[in-house]
Amino acid sequence: MSDPEPRAGTTASGAPSEDPDRDGRARLIAALRRPGSRGQLAAGALLAVLGFAAVVQVQSNSRDATYVGARQDELIALINGLSLASQRAENEMTRLAQTRNSLLTDTEARRTALERARQLADERGILAGTLAAVGPGVRVSIEDESGAVGAGNVINGIQELRDAGAEAIEINDMVRVVAQTSVRDLEEGGVVIDRTRLTAPYVIEAIGSSPTLSGGLQIARGFAYEIQRVGGTVDIKELETVEIDSVREPASTEYAEPVPTE
């Protein structure tokens, strides 16, 4: 760039453009007014190339996704970062799945234990007489015109039913027979069972295998025979469903405690 502007501009308006001492601004304005010297043509061509390239670059830059034109090492770093992230995410996923499985197992085990405990509580409740019960069984009606049927006969009947596998026994829809049940005679007739006074006719209901129960009651020289011998009548019905509604308060132990299991 050592030369002053060459004589190219002299063709048209002559002198002013050649003056090297002239103000740069005036020279620029003059060049803008006046079309083409050779220098302007060259500059124009190159500026066209520049404008074209710049626009193309700007457009490709704004059109591109982020990664086009990225260098190899940049891409590798990106991929490494991504695979690290995905690995972390996978680890996290595995951990969470394990947690979830263990929670599921826990819940399942707890539910099973609960189910089992509830079932046990139901069975115990029926056997202990704290729950009402329903099921197949027998209804034994005892008529006693002569007043001769007493505690002995009732106890006999209860024993026979228990032997035959009765799971719940009730007398006159009022008294639930349990392990602690006591029966005694009254002077004026009738019996007292667990502090409840009962008189004939007695109705004993028992849940269990009905043929076995009725068989047990009708055993030779057994319950039925004894009652008929003292002048009463016995009617035994085998039923599909016997309902036992009377319950008793659960007995709490005062002295006995369960033996701790290891």
Binding site: F52, A53, V56, Q57
Partner: protein, 110 residues
């Protein structure tokens, strides 16, 4: 005047054609554009100084672009392409700033 027209023509061509940059050119085009800008501002400054020469302009324009592209290519081969293109941009940016300062002094006397 023709120079200004050429610039406008180039921009219009780029806008109308909307060509996509070929893959092999992609790392070099931005550097080349910046280098060409440097040459253009240098030429404008020389013009205002009254020492503009079209041959010098053409040579400086082409050589600027070529050298910038070569430096980036070399950097890519050496594995420091990113850093080296940043360096080139910085240097060209400094030159553009100083040229523009001189141009400003000419045009606004300030």
């Amino acid at each position: 005047m023709i120079a200004g027209l050429g610039l406008v023509l180039g921009v219009l061509l780029g806008l109308i054609l909307q060509p996509s940059v070929p893959i092999w050119l992609q790392p070099y085009l931005p550097i080349a554009v910046v280098a060409a800008l440097d040459a253009v501002f240098g030429a404008l400054r020389a013009f205002l100084d009254g020492i503009f020469d079209d041959k010098v302009f053409v040579v400086s324009f082409v050589s600027n672009v070529l050298i910038a592209g070569m430096i980036v290519y070399l950097g890519d081969q050496l594995g420091v392409g990113g850093q080296l293109s940043t360096g080139v941009i910085v240097v060209l940016g400094i030159r553009i700033f100083s040229n523009v300062a001189a141009i400003r002094r000419h045009l606004f006397h300030a």
